[in-house]
């Protein structure tokens, strides 16, 4: 889901940098206010945790493996604003060191996976959980938060790619960047995610959530209002 260089037009990647940059600034200001001098080590370790989640590859049908984005579980455990910075740091390191995702697409990739995904996951988790503390409902909330978060992220990617033939075409109508229209990108990306990758993300989020809920309930963001940004998503 990392968009490479060459697929997004400047009309898309420049505004995406502006939007993502605004979120980064708000997240850093918010976290700095609440954590003071603890901000740097806290966000560093959150980023490390996020990076390590992505290192666990899970087998998927077809003989290949995939890794979870992990933004949903990071948002559930540490809060969505922390997830914004932590997952962004990981995506920037991945783009620079491994070439996973393009340099021009950092803004768009961070928006999809480090902004949209944690917030959608948090909203879905809160919506499904309600005021219940029942284990089964919480597990369902965790699964759906991972599932919906990744699906939202995948749809955003599909839209960003699919609008390229509309907003950046030659005078004769030939696309100049990502060539596939929305009618191709949305089904192609969304179906693959709906029936496979989102389920993997949901399962991993649920398994991790259950483990934390059983062994470290006080460490969970939603369970402890003193945790950064607690209860203010």
């Amino acid at each position: 889901m990392h968009i490479p260089d060459g697929y997004l037009s400047p009309q898309t990647y420049i505004p995406m940098f502006a939007v993502t940059g605004t979120f980064w600034a708000v997240a850093l200001r918010k976290l700095k206010k609440e954590l003071s001098v603890k901000e740097i080590p806290y966000l560093t370790m959150a980023s490390v945790f996020s990076f390590l989640i992505m290192m666990f590859n899970i087998p998927i049908p077809g003989g290949t493996t995939g890794h979870a984005v992990g933004a949903a579980i990071v948002a559930t455990v540490l809060g969505p604003w922390t997830a914004v910075v932590a997952v962004s740091v990981v995506l920037i390191v991945q783009a620079i060191v491994f070439g996973d995702g393009g340099i021009t697409a950092i803004g768009a990739n961070c928006f999809n996976m480090a902004i949209l995904m944690p917030f959608v996951s948090s909203w879905v988790f809160r919506l499904v959980r309600g005021k219940s503390s029942d284990g089964a409902r919480l597990s369902a909330a965790a699964f759906l938060s991972g599932y919906a978060g990744l699906l939202a992220s995948a749809l955003a990617t599909a839209v960003e790619m699919g609008i390229q033939p509309i907003i950046a075409a030659a005078p004769d109508g030939t696309p100049l960047y990502a060539p596939y229209p929305l009618s191709v990108t949305i089904p192609a990306i969304a179906l693959w995610h709906m029936f496979l990758l989102c389920i993997v993300e949901g399962m991993l989020t649920m398994l991790l959530f259950r483990y934390f809920y059983k062994h470290e309930p006080k460490g969970l963001y939603w369970a402890n209002s003193s945790v950064v940004g607690g209860g203010r998503t």
């Binding site: 490479p4 260089d5 060459g6 697929y7 997004l8 400047p10 980064w24 850093l28 003071s36 001098v37 603890k38 901000e39 740097i40 080590p41 806290y42 966000l43 560093t44 370790m45 959150a46 980023s47 490390v48 945790f49 990076f51 390590l52 989640i53 290192m55 666990f56 590859n57 087998p59 493996t65 910075v85 740091v89 990981v90 920037i92 390191v93 620079i96 060191v97 491994f98 070439g99 393009g102 340099i103 021009t104 030659a170 004769d172 030939t174 696309p175 100049l176 960047y177 060539p179 596939y180 229209p181 191709v184 398994l207 991790l208 259950r210 483990y211 934390f212 062994h215 470290e216 460490g219």
Partner: protein, 300 residues
Amino acid sequence: MNNKVPSFLLTTQPPPEVRGARVKGSFIDKGIGHISKFYETVFLQWELSRKDGLFQRLNARTKVVFLVFYIFIVSVKKEVSSEILVAVFIFLFVLLSRVGIFKFYWKVFIAGFLFGVLAGLPAALNVITPGETVYKIIELQRARIYHLPETITVTREGILLVMMLTARVVNSVSITLLVVSTTSFSDILKGLRVFRVPEYFLMILSLSQKYVFIFLKMLRDMHSAKKARLIGSADAAGWIPGRIAFIFNKTQLRCEDVNKAMVGRGFTGEVKLAGLEYIKTVDIMYGAIFIALWMVLLIL
């Protein structure tokens, strides 16, 4: 006489499945393999950045400006000929930077093939890009089925589009790889100061990359310890969440340690990145050359 050999030593573990020249391990093994790849990539970049070449001699800020400006020019060009011109300049810089040309372009062309040719190939057909027919592939029995044209063809406009996409991917990857191969990660971060990226954000990036090494080693040790102690397959569904939760606890504890160490050394919240090199004459000279070339490319 009773057999006193413990039962777990009597159970035999099936040998790893062999497919061709590769031994198929568990998916956890593959994940641990990625960790080794991470070490290897970072180490190779660090080693290449210490070679004596054109880009290695330049200040990180000059290279970061080069990266951003040239990636931008690659993204705005709309003709294959302009992209080829950019590729020629990059090739010269790669040669002068002595980064191992075959390995370098092997990586670049793999990315170009995957994200340019392979991903863009269907766009060469008239289904996606209508235009002048170059090659007729198939004539459909039932016309206009699923909104498809009666004849599926490769179009001239489609081929140009795939070439353009591939050239753009190849150029973007080669520019990024050139800078990344000739600059250490910490220097790239320092170079980002030129675009007014907040220092404390750069410090988080820098510390994260360093601590990732420490925790990856811990993860690898945990996996080795598990493999050495357990005979047969372990419950992966239980092991992975358990280890991730363990790492989470460790990161929280390390957070406290790092915070105490920083405060103990006089940290008050104000971040100042150390070791930023001064801009030298050679940086100004090459900076001027890069900007002049950039302007020529922009006009062409």
